[in-house]
Symmetry: C2
Subunit: 209 residues, 2 copies
DNA sequence: TTAACAATGTTATTCTTTTCACAATAGATA
DNA sequence: TATCTATTGTGAAAAGAATAACATTGTTAA
């Protein structure tokens, strides 16, 4: 196993994993790299290269065994009983995300939510009771959860991040438009929709020239 | 001006632009590359390299003139009176995004929303009346809007994308977890939160080893 | 049995992006 | 004025990612 796999490869493997599960639902047993690659929107060469890192090997004539490859990727991710996460900031975006991940979605369950607004505290939203955010440390014991999502206003994001780090959280999805400072043993994925939209607008202008 | 600027550079320039506006609000007149870079979470060398593409040049002793650099980036983006966009899918996520962009946010206004659910049609949400999605072509005239956001279930996303493309839209933000097939003159930014979260979970596991 | 085929695993190559390094420069200092 | 300092702009080097190329291999069919 290579000591470090790139973020891009992890994203694609996760995507392949999802597509493979869809294929399984449709009772497809085998798939060729170029077929799966087309569904994923990548090249076959890249898919094969990504698949290398999980150690699974397909057959030149049958292609990949859907079930086996799916298992190999799951095994590579080594996420046995599904990850749990906490979410801080039960505003518009926080509620949408909670609905999404705690809906029919099986994996990665959000087990606790927090907000500072007294009107939201103790309300149960999407099977998740909203707790006061200054009680995080009491409700979630250190090391209990590895992943956190931040959907509070930009001004509060760093403070929340510090609290999550203190809780022992090692991965953060940050939707607030600020760069978070965290220790090197914490992974931050910054999702800045305003920037993404500006980018889309820029390239849209480029395209119709 | 280089004919093609990378997506990464556009994202960072947009980020710098935002940070420069914040500095202006605080009446800061000059800033050094390493200061701005720290706020942005990138290296100073990278920032300087990005700034090259907009053609602005700073002073070795004063650094960058905040106002001038901000103007230079805005000018490079050449987005005169602010972009407009349409949004299809007024579910949980669609409403959150609408609230976000049509709130105090000045730029990039969502001018029309669509949904197929009769219960949602004609309801006014965040200053935006929800129209029936099969009437897009009647409500938005071709070429009127350049950017679209898709927040419908995965199964409906490609169909919606086709309709947007037919409308002359050149840039799409797609939140549905599917790869969209569009003509080469349309730019698609796929935002797949489930994949992002899986990635965070993976690296969180890696980190605490 | 063996040749032909089509798809894989993997190495080599190309292309892109980031980092490094440093000459050039504007101002501050004496 | 001459010198010193800190920062810029940018070519060159390094690192990283995608693509191409091809030898290898399991299967089919003559
Ligand atoms: N809504 C979107 O689609 C969207 C898009 C892009 C980015 N964002 C970002 O996501 C964040 C949330 O956006 P939103 O639209 O949901 O805003 P929102 O105002 O609807 O929700 C913010 C929530 O955070 C809570 N909060 C504030 N300070 C807190 C604290 N210290 N601890 C715990 N909770 C706290 C508030 O009570 C509120 O419920 C913002 O940073 C915003 O910039 C949102
Ligand atoms: N909610 C989230 O945080 C979240 C996160 C990641 C991805 N997504 C994706 O975003 C999309 C929307 O998610 P959501 O949680 O808002 O779902 P949702 O079910 O709340 O909303 C979907 C909306 O789309 C409408 N719709 C369905 N078919 C349509 C059509 N053909 N034309 C127009 N409107 C149509 C529905 O009436 C509904 O209002 C999904 O693809 C989902 O996978 C959502």
């Amino acid at each position: 196993m290579p000591s470090m796999v790139s973020e891009k490869t992890i994203e694609r493997l996760s995507l392949f994993h999802r597509l493979l599960k869809d294929l399984q639902d449709d009772d497809v047993t085998h798939v060729y790299s170029h077929q799966l690659a087309t569904k994923a929107g990548v090249t076959a060469a890249q898919l094969r290269r990504d698949v290398m890192v999980v150690g699974y090997t397909g057959s030149p004539s049958k292609g990949y065994d859907v079930k086996q490859l799916s298992l190999s990727i799951a095994n590579f991710f080594e996420d046995p009983e599904g990850e749990t996460a906490v979410l801080v900031g039960m505003g518009n975006l926080g509620r949408a995300i909670l609905a999404y991940f705690n809906g029919r979605r099986p994996k990665l369950h959000i087990v606790a939510c927090f907000d500072s607004d007294p009107h939201k505290i103790n309300r149960v939203i999407h099977n998740c009771r909203c707790h006061p955010s200054d009680k995080i440390g009491e409700i979630v014991s250190k090391g209990e959860v590895r992943v956190g999502a931040i959907t509070v206003p930009a001004a509060a994001a760093q403070k929340v991040a510090d609290e999550l780090v203190a809780l022992g959280i090692k991965g953060i999805m940050n939707f607030a438009p600020v760069h978070l400072k965290v220790p090197p043993d914490v992974f931050v994925e910054g999702i800045d929709l305003a920037l993404s939209l500006e980018k889309v607008a820029y390239f849209a202008r480029q395209k119709n020239k």
